[in-house]
C-alpha cells in the first residue's frame, strides 16, 4: 500500500504519521559520555562540594547550608493524592557533569561534540542558524522572526546558551544561573529566594541546598525580549537527581516568553527531579511561561520513570503585571507540581492553562494557586486532566481572595476525561473568599470519551486509537491554543503518544 493510499480523506498526513509513530517514548535513548560524579548521598559536605564546583561566592554557600540545615528537619509532604514510594535520599547522586565540562567551554564551538549531538538528536537548536527544530513541518512556516534562544542543561550543568550577544544588545541577560551568581551577583542576591523562600516546602528547600544549575533571565525596563527564550533539561546519568533552579526577572513594562522542555532516558529505576522556578514581574510587565514536560514516564508496568517534584511560582509585584503559565504534562512517573501566581500588584493578572495526561501507572497531582492580594486582580484557570490505563490524575488548586483584594475575579474550569475503568480522575480545589466585591466561580466536570464522537470518527474510517487521539485533542483545545506555536504542535502529537495503548 502506498503512503498516498494510506492517507484517507479527511485525515491529514500528520495525524496518520503521529499515530504510526505512536511507538514508545521517543527520547528514551542514552548518551554515552564520561561523567564526573559527586559521591552518593546528601550532607553538608556535598552541599559545599556543589558550591565549590560552581565556584560560588561565600554568601551563596551560606544560603545553601541554611537551607540544608532546615531540610534535615523537614518531612516529605504526604497530602497529595499520590502513592509515594520510599525515596532514599542518600542513595542518589546530587551532582553529575560530563567530564568535558570540567573547564567551562568559552563558546558553543568548544562544547563536546557528543553533547551537541545529544541536543541535535533531541531537536534542540544549539547552533544559532538552526532556528527551530523538533517541529515537524517547520520548513513550511515562515520562521524569519521565530528565533529561539536556548539554555541547555545536561544533568547538573548548563552546556551552553545561544544568542547571548543578540540578547545582550537588547539588554536582556540570559545565561545559566551558575554564571549569573558570578556575573550578576547583585541581581541574584536581590531576587533569589524572594518568591520561593528557602523554607517553602520539603522539595524546594532540598533544591535550595543542592541546586546545581538552571537558567537566569533578566529583562530590563521597557524591553520586549526580541526572541523566545527556552531551557531544555536533559537527565542522562543514572541514579542522579536533577535539581535545577530558574530565576526570571521581568522589569517594569518588559515582556518575555519562556519555554521549557525536558526529557530523560528509559531506565528501570526511578529518578528524582526537584526543580524551583521563581518569576518576578514588575509593573506593567508580562511573562509567558510554557512547559512541555516529557520526562520518561516509566514503562507499561510502571517501572522506572522520573519523580517530578516541582515548585513554580510567579510574583506579580507591580500594578498591571501579568503572568501566564501553560503546561503540558505528559511525562514523569509522579508529578507534583503547582505553578502559582501571587497577584500582589493592583490589576495584576494570572492565568493557568494545563493539560495533564497520565497513562499506565503514572500519577499526577498538579494544579495552581492564585493568591489575590491586590485590588482588581484577575485570574483564570483552565485545567484538562486525562487519565488512562491505571493512572491517577488529580487537579489540586487554591483560589484565595484576601480581604483587600477588592473587585477581583477568578474563573476556574477543571475538566477530567477518563479512558478505561481502571484509572482515576480527581479534583481538589480550595476556594477562600474574604471580601464580597470579588467574584469566584469554579466548575468541574468528569466524563468519559464521548461514544457518539468516537462512533462518528469510526464511521468515517478513522482507527480507534486515532479517533481517541482526535477526541482528546479536541478536549484539550483551549489549552493547546494558549501554547506558543512550536510547543502547540509538539504537544498535540505528544497527547496522542501518551495515550498509546490505552484503548481496547
Amino acid at each position: 500500500m502506498t503512503q498516498e493510499q494510506d492517507i484517507r480523506e479527511g485525515v491529514d498526513r500528520e495525524t496518520v504519521e503521529t499515530v504510526q509513530n505512536m511507538g514508545s517514548y521517543k527520547y528514551g535513548w542514552e548518551t554515552e559520555i564520561e561523567m564526573e560524579y559527586a559521591p552518593k548521598g546528601i550532607s553538608e559536605e556535598i552541599v559545599r562540594l556543589i558550591s565549590a564546583k560552581n565556584n560560588e561566592p561565600e554568601w551563596m554557600l551560606e544560603w545553601r547550608l541554611e537551607a540544608y540545615r532546615r531540610w534535615v528537619e523537614m518531612e516529605m509532604p504526604d497530602w497529595a493524592l499520590l502513592k509515594l514510594p520510599e525515596i532514599d535520599y542518600q542513595d542518589l547522586y546530587y551532582y553529575a557533569r560530563p567530564k568535558s565540562m570540567a573547564t567551562k567551554p568559552k563558546s558553543l564551538e568548544e562544547v563536546d561534540p557528543k553533547l551537541l549531538a545529544t541536543y541535535e538528536k533531541l531537536g534542540i537548536p544549539l547552533k544559532e542558524q538552526m532556528i527551530l527544530a523538533g517541529v515537524e513541518g517547520a520548513e513550511n512556516i515562515d520562521l524569519s522572526n521565530r528565533q529561539v534562544a536556548v539554555d541547555a542543561v545536561f544533568d547538573s550543568v548548563s552546556v551552553g546558551t545561544t544568542f547571548k550577544e543578540k540578547l545582550a544588545e537588547a539588554g536582556v541577560i540570559f545565561c545559566s544561573i551558575s554564571e549569573a551568581i558570578k556575573e550578576h551577583p547583585e541581581l541574584v542576591k536581590q531576587y533569589l529566594g524572594t518568591v520561593v523562600p528557602q523554607t517553602d516546602n520539603f522539595f524546594a528547600t532540598l533544591n535550595c541546598a543542592v541546586f546545581s544549575d538552571g537558567s537566569f533571565v533578566y529583562v530590563p525596563p521597557g524591553t520586549r525580549c526580541p526572541m523566545e527564550l527556552s531551557t531544555y533539561f536533559r537527565i542522562n546519568a543514572e541514579n542522579t537527581g536533577q535539581f535545577e533552579r530558574t530565576l526570571i526577572i521581568c522589569d517594569k513594562g518588559a515582556y518575555v516568553s519562556y519555554l521549557e522542555g525536558c526529557t530523560a532516558p528509559k531506565r528501570d529505576t526511578a529518578q528524582l527531579h526537584a526543580a524551583v522556578v521563581e518569576i518576578v514581574i514588575m509593573e506593567d510587565a508580562e511573562v509567558k511561561y510554557s512547559t512541555v514536560q516529557n520526562w520518561f514516564p516509566g514503562d507499561e508496568d510502571g517501572k522506572g520513570g522520573i519523580y517530578n517534584f516541582v515548585t513554580k511560582r510567579a510574583d506579580c509585584r507591580g500594578a498591571r503585571a501579568k503572568v501566564m503559565w501553560t503546561q503540558v504534562e505528559t511525562g514523569s512517573a509522579i508529578t507534583w507540581k503547582y505553578p502559582s501566581c501571587i497577584l500582589r500588584g493592583d490589576e495584576s493578572q494570572g492565568e493557568f492553562y494545563s493539560i495533564a495526561i497520565a497513562n499506565n501507572f503514572q500519577q499526577a497531582d498538579t494544579g495552581t494557586k492564585m493568591v489575590h492580594l491586590g485590588k482588581n486582580t484577575r485570574s483564570r484557570i483552565v485545567s484538562k486532566g486525562i487519565s488512562a490505563g491505571q493512572a491517577q490524575n488529580t487537579y489540586r488548586g487554591l483560589v484565595s481572595m484576601h480581604p483587600r483584594a477588592k473587585n477581583s475575579r477568578n474563573y476556574t474550569q477543571c475538566d477530567s476525561l477518563l479512558i478505561g475503568d481502571k484509572c482515576g480522575a480527581h479534583t481538589v480545589p480550595y476556594i477562600e473568599v474574604k471580601n464580597n466585591s470579588s467574584r469566584v466561580e469554579h466548575e468541574a466536570t468528569t466524563s468519559k470519551v464521548d461514544d457518539d464522537q468516537l462512533f462518528y470518527c469510526r464511521a468515517r474510517g478513522v482507527g480507534e486509537e486515532e479517533a481517541v487521539a482526535l477526541v482528546v485533542n479536541g478536549f484539550c483545545r483551549e489549552v493547546l491554543q494558549a501554547l506558543p506555536m512550536e510547543f502547540a504542535m509538539e504537544a498535540q502529537s505528544l497527547v496522542a503518544i501518551s495515550l498509546e495503548g490505552s484503548v481496547g
Partner: protein, 422 residues
C-alpha cells in the same frame, strides 16, 4: 499515657455515658484514642477551629428569647422532646406510631439497635477521621431508636429545647428503615449550649427517608452533628438543613450508597449574621458511590454578613465499578458585606469511567443589576434584598419535597430576614 490519650481522657472527664452497649462504646473510645482530638493542622479542620469543641466544658450560651411559634406546629406529627439533652416525657407524645417502633437509648435497647449502634459511624471514619462522632458513640446519654417497618403514619419530630447556659448534651439516634418503609423525620430547635449529635440511618432497599432539620435561632450555641447513612438498592435518602445563627455549627454528612439505582440528596441553607455574635457554619459532606446507576446531589447555600464565616467541604467519591453514577455538587455563598468569608473545598474523587460528575462553587455579592431592577419597580431596598436572598436559596429549599414543610421553612427564613435587616 500518650499525649493524645491524655487529651482524650481530659475531654471525657466528667462525662457519664448512658447505660448498656459496653462493647460498641469501648470500641468507639478506642477509635477516639487512636485518632485523638482534632486540631487546626488536620486537613478537615483547617477552616474551623475545633478548640471550643475540644474543651472539657462548653462556653456558656444563653438561650435566645424566642417568641416565634414552634416550627411545623400546624403539622400532625409525633413529638419527642429533649430539654438540654434530657428526655421530656411530659412534653413528648406517646412513643407509638403505626408502621414504626420507637425506643430510647437510655431505656431497654432492642436487638436491632444493639447490632446497628456505632457500626455506620465506625465505617465512616475512613478515610477521614471524625473524632467527635466516635466521642459521641462512646459517651451518648440518650437518643431515639426508630425502626420503620412500613409507611410511617405521620412524621416524627425531634424537638430540642435549650434552657441551661452550660448544657453539653450528647445524643445518638438510630433510624432503621426496613425494605420499602417510609419515614419523614423532623429535627427542630437548639439542643443545648454545646450539642454533639450522631444519627445513624440505615435505609433498606426501596425505602425512603426524608430528613428536615432546622438549627437555631440561638446565636451563642455550638453544635457538632453527624449523619451517617447507608443507602441500599432503589432507596431514597434526602436530608435538608436550615441553619440560622449559632456561634459554631459543624454538620457532617457521610452517605454511603451501597445498592444500585439509589438516590441520595443532601442540602443545606445557612443564614449568618455576625452582628448578633460570631457565626461560623461548616458543612462537611462525604458521599460515596458503590452501586450502579445511582444519583447523588449536594446543594449548599450560605448567606453571610457582618463577619460571618461559611465553610463547605464536600466530596463525591465514586468507587471502582460504580458505573453510570450521576453525581452533582454545588456550593454557593452570597456575601452581603465585605467582612464575611466563604471557604470551600468541593472535591471529586473518581475511579470509574462511565460517570457523569460535576461540581460548581461560586461566591460573590448580591447582583446589583437584579437589585436595581427591583428598586426601579418600587420595591424598597431591604425587601428587594430579601427577595434576592430567597431566590438565591431556592435551589437548596427545593430539595424539600413536601410542599407544606417547604412553606414552613420559607416562612422561618422570611422571619429571620425581617429581623436581621441592616
Amino acid at each position: 499515657m500518650a499525649a493524645k490519650e491524655e487529651a482524650v481522657a481530659a475531654r471525657l472527664a466528667g462525662l457519664t455515658a448512658g447505660p448498656g452497649l459496653a462493647g460498641p462504646r469501648a470500641e468507639a473510645r478506642a477509635r477516639l484514642e487512636v485518632m485523638g482530638l482534632p486540631g487546626r493542622r488536620d486537613e478537615y479542620w483547617r477552616w474551623t477551629d475545633p478548640a471550643a469543641l475540644n474543651g472539657a466544658t462548653p462556653a456558656a450560651a444563653k438561650a435566645a428569647e424566642d417568641d416565634e411559634a414552634p416550627l411545623f406546629d400546624a403539622l400532625d406529627r409525633l413529638k419527642i422532646v429533649f430539654v438540654d439533652g434530657v428526655f421530656d416525657a411530659a412534653a413528648s407524645d406517646d412513643l407509638t406510631l403505626a408502621g414504626v417502633e420507637i425506643a430510647r437509648l437510655a431505656d431497654k435497647i432492642p436487638a436491632w439497635a444493639e447490632a446497628l449502634y456505632g457500626t455506620l459511624e465506625a465505617a465512616g471514619q475512613n478515610p477521614v477521621k471524625r473524632p467527635f462522632a466516635a466521642l459521641n458513640t462512646a459517651q451518648a446519654t440518650d437518643g431515639v431508636l426508630i425502626r420503620v417497618t412500613a409507611k410511617a403514619e405521620k412524621p416524627i419530630n425531634l424537638i430540642y429545647v435549650h434552657k441551661s447556659e452550660t448544657s453539653d448534651p450528647i445524643l445518638h439516634h438510630l433510624v432503621h428503615l426496613e425494605p420499602g418503609a417510609e419515614l419523614t423525620l423532623l429535627e427542630t430547635g437548639p439542643a443545648g449550649a454545646r450539642f454533639n449529635k450522631v444519627m445513624e440511618v440505615d435505609v433498606g432497599s426501596g425505602a425512603s427517608f426524608h430528613h428536615i432539620r432546622a438549627q437555631g435561632p440561638d446565636s451563642e450555641c455550638r453544635a457538632v452533628t453527624h449523619i451517617f447513612a447507608r443507602v441500599a438498592e432503589k432507596a431514597l435518602f434526602k436530608s435538608f438543613t436550615l441553619t440560622v445563627n449559632g456561634a459554631l455549627t459543624r454538620n457532617e454528612a457521610v452517605i454511603e450508597i451501597i445498592g444500585n439505582d439509589a438516590v441520595a440528596h443532601v442540602a443545606g441553607a445557612a443564614l449568618g449574621d455576625g452582628a448578633t455574635g460570631p457565626f461560623l457554619h461548616d458543612d462537611t459532606v462525604f458521599v460515596t458511590h458503590q452501586g450502579l446507576r445511582c444519583e447523588s446531589r449536594q446543594v449548599f447555600k450560605k448567606v453571610l454578613k457582618h463577619g460571618a464565616i461559611g465553610t463547605f467541604q464536600g466530596k463525591i467519591l465514586v468507587k471502582p465499578g460504580a458505573q453510570k453514577t450521576d453525581g452533582y455538587q454545588i456550593s454557593q455563598s452570597l456575601l452581603l458585606d465585605d467582612d464575611s468569608q466563604f471557604l470551600a473545598k468541593p472535591e471529586l474523587e473518581i475511579y470509574a469511567d462511565d460517570v457523569k460528575c460535576s461540581h460548581g462553587s461560586t461566591t460573590g455579592a448580591i447582583d446589583e443589576t437584579a437589585l436595581f431592577y427591583l428598586r426601579s419597580r418600587g420595591v424598597p431596598e431591604e425587601e428587594a434584598k430579601g427577595l434576592l436572598v430567597l431566590s438565591f436559596l431556592a435551589d437548596a429549599i427545593d430539595e424539600i419535597e413536601d410542599a407544606g414543610l417547604k412553606e414552613d421553612i420559607v416562612a422561618r427564613l422570611e422571619t429571620w430576614l425581617a429581623r436581621h435587616r441592616d
